[in-house]
């Protein structure tokens, strides 16, 4: 019997797990996929929003600003990549300046610091690559960029270290109440728990409707993106937004913490909860709108495109749901943008809610900090040299494009909650995330996965499930 089971190991589930692991309880995170950070958390804009978009008084506004304020300190405590690069919201028409003003005032009410409206000249002095058609811009210096994998994995590892159990490949098929506890029927059999926390992303409604009489429906809202080569990462320094539209914050152009350039997302509602396919129309739309902000985007430098799904609650009040929806049944659902930003604050809030509800007490010993896998490229020459002479695996480069060593990949696999798949390695240490997209290193990373997990190559997957990388030995069929 668990005290609490969190359903979903995305950034929200992991943030709640980390905060809840401060308390004495038997805690489990059940994830339907093979790794943490495989749904919405892995495919988004990776922006730490300043908080001027959300309507004042909403949970989105509150947790956005709180999360944004927490992020920098957390990036040190848990050792993930974060940079406060500032954001600019462009307006293309003098007539739209009122909307910039509106955002500005919203931001002030929400408690966003440092907001400023820039005229055309100041804007271009700050970002020369931005279109001459921009008439003015809202400048938000507190906006930042983060590694969404780094953040999620850091939260998960820290929760794990503090006693949270993680069950991967553990989809919850049904959920029912049984007296004073819940029974979760999963891929790994029945789990019993006193409390259940719904952090199931685009499946949040399915879980909700198992328990709550008042049903709701989540409509996955697809966002498509293109990622450009690192040589283009300095084209703009700030995150460049356009005035937000009805479905979202519109198309942005931004550097990533890894130095790439990212553009997107589109916004289109759909039914498929696993429909993370890109479309010709969507990508064309993303590129087209991005070029409105930053003309001359070097589109021949695209290294990959991807799509993510926002968990939008249909017909609701357009806000996060963060509550105890039924006795012992807690929910953090409808976490669309600015969910990534808000995650750390949501984690704290939900953990408190659960702790109060269950009468939990804090542990005596909680490990606050977590160190990430060593990044030899960030070390001085001498320190890197010392590292390699201590452990030569850090000198053996596997991924040429990102210069990732065998040592880092080995660490990504051996760590608690270590990588099981090619994508798992990629999210942890970026092997295969560079300009050749794994052309050279995939077979090498597969060898390391095979060696470390002692699994035949034919059992290895790209991303769990049936995503096998090779189907057998040569000449088997002859």
């Amino acid at each position: 019997m668990y005290d609490a089971v969190i359903v979903g190991a995305g950034v929200i589930g992991c943030a709640i797990a980390r905060e809840l692991s401060r308390y004495s309880l038997k805690l489990c995170v059940a994830e339907k996929n093979e790794d943490v950070c495989t749904g919405t958390s892995k495919a988004n804009s990776a922006i730490v929003h300043a908080g001027f978009d959300a309507v004042p008084g909403t949970r989105k506004a509150r947790f956005n600003v709180e999360g944004s304020r927490m992020m920098e300190a957390l990036s040190h405590t848990l050792d993930f990549s974060y940079r406060r690069n500032g954001a600019l919201v462009l307006c293309f028409d003098e007539a739209d300046r009122v909307h910039l003003q509106e955002l500005y005032h919203r931001g002030i009410v929400n408690g966003v610091e440092g907001l400023e409206i820039l005229d055309k000249e100041a804007l271009h002095a700050m970002e020369p690559a931005v279109t001459q058609e921009a008439a003015a811009a809202l400048y938000a210096p507190s906006s930042g960029i983060v590694c969404p994998f780094g953040l999620t994995i850091a939260l998960a590892e820290n929760a794990f270290e503090n006693g949270a159990e993680f069950r991967m490949n553990c989809q919850v098929q049904s959920l029912r109440r049984a007296g004073d506890h819940f029974v979760l029927v999963t891929d790994q059999g029945e789990l019993e728990s006193r409390a259940v926390i719904n952090a199931a992303g685009v499946y949040g409604d399915v879980l909700h409707n198992e328990i709550c009489a008042e049903t709701l429906r989540i409509v996955p809202r697809k966002g498509e993106y293109c990622l450009l080569d690192r040589r283009d990462g300095t084209l703009v320094d700030h995150t460049i937004f356009q005035l937000p539209g009805k479905l979202g914050k519109g198309i942005l152009v931004t550097p990533t913490v890894h130095g790439n350039l990212l553009l997107g997302p589109t916004a289109a509602d759909q039914d498929a909860r696993e429909g993370t396919n890109t479309t010709a129309a969507g990508l064309a739309n993303a590129i087209d709108k991005a070029q409105r902000s930053v003309p001359h985007l070097p589109m021949r430098d695209v290294i990959t495109s991807f799509a993510g799904l926002r968990a939008h609650i249909a017909g609701g009040d357009d806000d996060f749901v963060l509550q105890q929806s039924a006795p012992g049944f807690y929910e953090a659902i409808g976490i669309e943008s600015p969910g990534l930003t808000a995650a750390p604050a949501i984690g704290v809030y939900m953990a408190q809610l659960v702790a109060e509800g269950m009468g939990l007490v804090k542990k005596e010993h909680f490990t606050e900090t977590r160190r990430s896998i060593v990044n030899p490229r960030e070390l001085s020459f001498e320190a890197r040299q010392a590292l390699i002479s201590r452990d030569p695996a850090y000198g053996h480069i596997i991924c040429r494009c990102e210069q990732i060593s065998e040592g880092e990949i080995r660490d990504a696999i051996r760590r608690p909650l270590g990588a099981r798949s090619l994508d798992g390695v990629k999210r942890r240490v970026r092997a295969g995330m560079g300009r050749c997209q794994g052309g050279f290193c995939s077979p090498r990373v597969m060898e390391l996965l095979s060696r470390e997990w002692n699994e035949p190559m034919t059992e290895l997957t790209k991303s769990g499930g049936e995503s096998y990388l090779v189907v057998g030995l040569t000449k088997e069929e002859l």
Binding site: T279, H396, R400, Q437, M457, T458, T461
Partner: protein, 420 residues
């Protein structure tokens, strides 16, 4: 700091031939840096035959071709560092290298020969819409898995792009028992060698669908199928021509890109057409003492030409080390126009050129019954009738120093089509 006369970056066919030539030309302190665990580069996975016809008058496999050079490197006792990656080259030729055995260190070189080869254009660069499942490989990655590791990437195969590696892999996958359904090529012609189309597709009954491309990728976990569509003359898919092809594997052979990240770190000027360094007749780049050869310079069709070019780079680097920096005056520009995409070299110092210099170039589209014109300044020096020219086949012209006029400043290559 360790100092060498010449450091060769890359132990593939270009690096090996360059090292051998430099050693034979008298350079003593040479070093080959190779990131892989053995010499030979990509030849090691090219187990098909057809290598060495020009050089040895024999049809060798890739490993056999490589072995002939590796043996010479051993006989000449040229030192090699394997499992060693060059992380950076500074403009003053200090190389930062890392390896499992040698650790992290810096090596100074009086001359550097860039011989890093090329890489394959990945799926992402094409921006093909759809899912991102397992089962999508560049042809070269699949070649490595099959030929070196002994694994089958899949059984029902579609190949996008008719570059040579794609064609070779169509045959290889068939020989290994896979069903290669078709090869789709977005252009109205193939970018591969004619002999490969005949020997790898025609002989195996594999259809080549020209002016077709993949417009959608299906399958969330493992690839389930692709949607193929015909394209118009602007390479845009024609609505209504879509066809779903079930398959578990998509191999991409959609172009090779010279791997010049290190060249860029050294400050070497790159040619936007070839993707490789701009070089003189000595294969010297814009950075003093830094030479380039092989596929890092421009993508070759035959390894024989790589070896020949690399040997010249090796000899020239040896000269450079012996004589020190010579005042170069590479003031003649070579260029391709009207159908000729580029030339290598791009610059020429007439005083330094040998009696004869091979200029290599490629055309941008297939031609039949045309005239190749070589212009010295504004004057047409030579007209050569060509029955066939194709982008997949590298062309060459032998430039004789005796023919060059005194006031030469530009040599231009063009394709002249007959008036209809």
């Amino acid at each position: 700091m360790e100092t060498y006369d010449i450091v060769i970056v890359g132990g593939g066919p270009a690096g090996l031939a360059a090292a051998i030539a430099a050693k034979r030309a008298g350079t003593e302190r040479l070093l080959i840096l190779e990131r892989d665990s053995e010499l030979g580069g990509i030849l090691n996975q090219c187990i098909h035959n057809g290598f060495g016809l020009h050089t040895f008058g024999e049809e060798l496999t890739g490993p056999e071709y490589a072995e002939r050079y590796i043996r010479q490197v051993r006989e000449l006792e040229i030192p090699c560092l394997l499992n060693t990656m060059v992380l950076d080259i500074s403009p003053d030729r200090v190389l930062t290298v890392a390896g499992r055995d040698g650790g992290l260190r810096q090596i100074a070189a009086r001359a550097v020969i860039l011989a890093m080869g090329c890489r394959e254009r990945p799926r992402g660069a094409l921006n093909i819409p759809g899912y991102r499942p397992a089962g999508i490989y560049s042809a070269g990655t699949a070649q490595r898995l099959v030929n070196m590791e002994g694994y089958m990437p899949g059984r029902e195969v579609v190949i996008l792009g008719s570059g040579d590696i794609g064609l070779i892999m169509a045959r290889r996958m068939s020989l290994e028992g896979a069903h290669v359904k078709l090869v789709a090529e977005v252009l109205p012609y193939s970018g591969g060698l004619k002999r490969n189309i005949s020997q790898c597709l025609d002989d195996f009954g594999i259809p080549l669908k020209l002016s077709h491309t993949v417009v959608d990728i299906d399958g969330r976990e493992r690839l389930r199928g692709v949607t193929l569509a015909e394209v118009d003359e602007n390479r845009r898919p024609i609505p209504g021509t879509e066809e779903y092809i079930p398959c578990d594997t998509l191999l991409l052979s959609v172009g090779l890109l010279p791997e010049n990240e290190l060249s860029a770190s050294a400050g070497v000027a790159l040619d936007s057409v070839t993707g490789g360094p701009v070089v003189t007749e000595s294969l010297l780049t814009s950075v003093p003492g830094v030479f380039a050869c092989g596929n890092v310079l421009h993508v070759h069709d035959l390894v024989d030409y790589v070896s020949e070019e690399a040997a010249r780079a090796g000899e020239n680097a040896a000269d450079y080390v012996r004589q020190g920096e010579q005042p170069e005056e590479a003031n003649v520009r070579l260029a391709g126009k009207k159908g000729v995409r580029y030339t290598v070299p791009q610059l020429l110092d007439v005083r330094h050129m040998p009696e004869q210099l091979t200029v290599r170039f490629r055309v941008g589209q297939p031609y039949r019954d045309v005239t190749l014109c070589v212009w010295f300044n504004e004057t047409c020096f030579r007209r050569i009738r060509k029955r066939v020219m194709a982008p997949g086949e590298m062309e060459q012209f032998l430039l004789r120093r005796a023919d060059l006029p005194d006031d030469l400043h530009t040599i231009t290559f063009t394709v002249e089509e007959d008036a209809k």
